[in-house]
Symmetry: C2
Subunit: 183 residues, 2 copies
């Protein structure tokens, strides 16, 4: 109850929970989702939320569905708390809600942000929702005046991010990861 | 005065300012810096600090010295405040202190950290101090139980980071940057 109250009390500030009902990019190419609110919400709608009070078991199920290895919920909670931005994507139908996408970003609140954990449930992939989720997160980071939006892309999603305007290794800049005990 | 009080009141917590006097890696190969405290600090010493109350003009001079373009101090202040970890490196001699190195990291406090703005003053480069600074930041991130330590390396410093145990594009993972208006 508390969650939905928050979800629907959308304000513009980055710390307050916000709700964006399906914007144009979300509905484009998403056949079964109506562009205008249907009577009594009989038709499913896709919404974004910046609320951090996400059911961690539901998030775990979403990550399970794309084959990610499990992580301690205690650490997931801490990571969500200390991310600069958390965006979740929901399918709403009548009184039902289902978490179908997620992404978050770390940041210094000034220059740099790094996007992590971009995921869309397999049942909802290939309909433009991943793109809409990314556009939403970029929009919010730009709104916060962050100029350097970065991420680390797995090989199979490099093209997905390229389509969104991300460039790999621009001017030869390399993403690097530290390996414990390698030195 | 407030600054030095903080600097010398070192505690272990990540939010409190800490001071680590020159550890073995800092003094190795650094001819003019004594390994043991000299009487009345007559000899220069190299120290690390996690204090965030850095004189932003002094930091700007350090960044100027390596040719970085200037950034609004208001945003630098905000970035320092919201970084997970800030490490500065100082040359101390008698009552004098000089900022000679800097680095900071953003993080979700749980899984991922990204290191930004690694710099050593040209007068002090090539003596192992950049390496010591990086080791210090990695040590603190590991102490905070962060498993994924990342950075974006300019082409001319990729080898420097490789020597420290960083791998470029591990398993094909690509660092990517978003370019405004490219899409
Ligand atoms: C990557 C992911 C978020 C994409 O979500 P999605 O909803 O399927 O993507 P969209 O439908 O919005 O696709 C947008 C565009 O990217 C393309 N695309 C989607 N997935 C792609 C992929 N893996 N590789 C290349 N292009 C891809 C689509 O064809 C589409 O192109 P179009 O606009 O020309 O039609 C989703 O596949 C996912 O969750 N994968 C598993 C988790 C993962 O790998 N996350 C990334 C970790 S770095
Ligand atoms: C990069 C930088 C921090 C290195 O600091 P430094 O104090 O000169 O480095 P060190 O003396 O600790 O060098 C450690 C090792 O890296 C090597 N190294 C140093 N700079 C290097 C470089 N640019 N490329 C390749 N190797 C380098 C050294 O030869 C040394 O190797 P060794 O241990 O085998 O002797 C410093 O040159 C600097 O501030 N540069 C300008 C700012 C910058 O480019 N920052 C990085 C932005 S991504």
């Amino acid at each position: 109850m508390g969650f939905w109250k928050n979800l629907f009390s959308g304000s513009g500030s980055s710390s307050a929970p916000t709700l964006a009902t399906a914007e144009v990019p979300v509905t484009q190419g998403v056949g079964r989702i109506s562009k205008t609110p249907a009577p009594k919400l009989a038709q499913p709608q896709i919404c974004f939320s910046q609320d951090r009070e996400i059911d961690l078991y539901e998030l775990e199920r979403l990550c399970d569905a794309v084959g990610w290895s499990r992580r301690p919920l205690r650490k997931v909670r801490k990571a969500i708390k200390h991310s600069f931005l958390v965006i979740s994507m929901w399918e709403l139908q009548g009184d039902e809600s289902r978490l179908i996408g997620f992404s978050r970003a770390t940041s210094d609140h000034a220059f740099n942000a790094t996007i992590w954990d971009v995921v869309v449930h397999p049942d909802f992939q290939g309909r433009g929702l991943g793109k809409a989720l990314m556009k939403q997160i970029i929009k919010e980071l730009r709104r916060a005046d962050i100029s350097n939006v970065t991420l680390f892309a797995d090989p199979h999603v490099i093209d997905f991010y390229c389509e969104l305007g991300f460039a790999p290794d621009p001017e030869g800049i390399k993403g690097m990861f530290w390996y414990p005990n390698s030195r």
